[in-house]
């Protein structure tokens, strides 16, 4: 198989295992490309991509933009805060206006779950979901799995724990789908108030004791407490959260093995992870960022090759 089974990347839910492997194999080649002295290839020189961000983002936006430029695509950047959306324009109108300028692909982040799926049904262009509310963030999950594969050789059979705010996290949901699809064992760990009610239906284990979770796992993916999504109080204080669910050097050193530490960023140093852990050899946080560009290049390349 040498092409994706989908026209859009809306979520991991819609992918097959073979799609993920194809993306990884393609990303391997792009990782070699971005480590050359000239980091650019001309593949997408006749493709125009619009990055439409209705929600703030630093690394995802930069990473997508860099990936697009490394592939020689023309890039349009649009953020909702400086646009006619403020004047009351609808999503479809906004996007159709952009598309009438002959744009081939749309990378979109939106606060509403399902925004990408909705758009894909109403417009012609290829859609890449760069995060839709608390739903999915597929490229993040792909780069997380890719980083695990790079560090441990394979994802299948590995024990991965996702720690933190599972309820509001699109990273958690996409990661669960991606890891399960590749045959990893997944547990989530966090305060019960931040675990969704439907968690059992996803086929993952639940652990509320961080030490037990760490003793079980090969990889711990530490999520950020998303204060902007916490409309009510889910735990008493940040300090208490840190005591229960934050990783620190002492805790990791007391385990009889080395757990790989991941974090999708941005890090709240001293909350879910201490600085000495974030900057330690166990942490592959910066590898994740580097791999993000290669993964996004692969996704865009593979989707663009389906545009006729």
């Amino acid at each position: 198989m040498s092409e994706l089974s989908v026209k859009h990347l809306l979520g991991i839910k819609y992918l097959k295992e073979s799609d993920i492997q194809l993306i990884f194999e393609t990303a391997d080649h792009f990782k070699e490309v971005i480590n050359r002295s000239i980091k650019k290839v001309p593949s997408l020189r006749d493709i125009t991509i619009a990055n439409i961000f209705f929600e703030n983002s630093t690394r995802t936006k930069l990473s997508f933009e860099l990936a697009e430029k490394r592939l020689s695509a023309d890039v349009l950047n649009f953020s909702a805060s400086q646009s006619s959306v403020k004047k009351g324009e609808t999503l479809i109108d906004t996007v159709n206006n952009i598309l009438s300028m002959k744009v081939d692909m749309v990378v979109m982040r939106h606060p509403n779950p399902g925004a990408g799926i909705f758009l894909s049904k109403h417009v012609e262009a290829s859609i890449v979901n760069a995060g839709d509310g608390a739903h999915e963030h597929p490229t993040q999950a792909l780069l997380d799995s890719y980083s695990i594969r790079e560090k441990l050789g394979d994802v299948a059979g590995k024990n991965v724990v996702i720690v933190g705010d599972i309820l509001h996290s699109r990273v958690a949901l996409s990661n669960i789908f991606a890891l399960k699809l590749q045959g990893a064992n997944v547990k989530v760990c966090g305060p019960k108030t931040l675990l969704p009610k439907y968690i059992d239906s996803l086929g993952v284990g639940v652990e509320t004791n961080l030490r037990k979770a760490l003793e079980w796992c090969d990889v711990a993916n530490m999520l950020r407490i998303q204060n902007e999504r916490l409309d009510i109080s889910y735990f008493p204080t940040t300090r208490e959260y840190t005591q229960q669910f934050g990783v620190n050097k002492k805790l990791l050193d007391s385990l009889d093995k080395e757990v790989v530490i991941m974090h999708p960023g941005p890090i709240n140093r001293g909350v879910e992870i201490t600085s000495d852990v974030a900057d330690s050899k166990q942490s592959i946080i910066l590898n994740q960022v580097e791999n993000g560009v290669a993964i996004r290049m692969a996704v865009i390349y593979l989707l663009a090759s389906k545009i006729k």
């Binding site: 080649h29 490309v33 290839v41 593949s43 997408l44």
Partner: protein, 182 residues
């Protein structure tokens, strides 16, 4: 099912003789290979480049040859123009080509578009002093671009419906070149 017919263009013995001749021609121009690098174009030029390197080292006692493999997938000009997604292979060039004499090596020279892509791809690894082209089979009268080889194994006349299939012992079980009627 379309009927395919194929005839042998070159046998194992003939391929071997041609490779030796090409090795000698390279040697004549580059002698010590001090400032020369060989780059096989992936996926199929790799085998030609490896064979030539082996002959040069073992039979003509050249001490050291820089050999690399270049994947041109992301530099091709037919992206999105065919039915299939172009699949990449591995690039492996662990030296700079800056100021070097580069010999690009491929098995079949047809339209010249792969070589055009290779010339662009090569720029990612520096500015070579000069670039030459070696190909085992040169399909005459089929070029889309003004590209000609400096070293050619065998020139053949083949119509567009025909395909030249080069097989290698290490990959396909035997050294043989067919002309296949598609």
């Amino acid at each position: 099912m379309p009927i395919m017919s194929q005839k042998v263009l070159l046998s194992s013995k003939e391929i071997n003789i041609i490779l030796h001749r090409l090795a000698c021609q390279l040697l004549e121009n580059h002698l010590t290979f001090e400032n020369t690098v060989l780059i096989g174009i992936q996926p199929r030029g790799k085998f030609v480049a490896q064979r030539l390197t082996k002959i040069l080292k073992e039979e003509y006692k050249v001490n050291h040859i820089d050999l690399g493999f270049l994947d041109i997938t992301f530099f091709r000009d037919d992206f999105r123009r065919g039915d299939k997604t172009l699949e990449a292979t591995k690039t492996n060039i662990d030296f700079l080509v800056e100021d070097k004499n580069v010999v690009l090596i491929d098995d079949v020279l047809y339209t010249g578009r792969s070589i055009n892509a290779a010339l662009t791809a090569l720029q990612s690894f520096g500015r070579p002093k000069d670039v030459e082209l070696l190909c085992l089979i040169d399909r005459r009268f089929s070029r889309h671009l003004p590209i000609q080889p400096n070293y050619r194994g065998r020139q053949v006349d083949a119509i567009n419906e025909e395909k030249v299939k080069v097989m290698w012992e290490e990959n396909d079980g035997e050294d043989i070149i067919y002309l296949v009627n598609r």
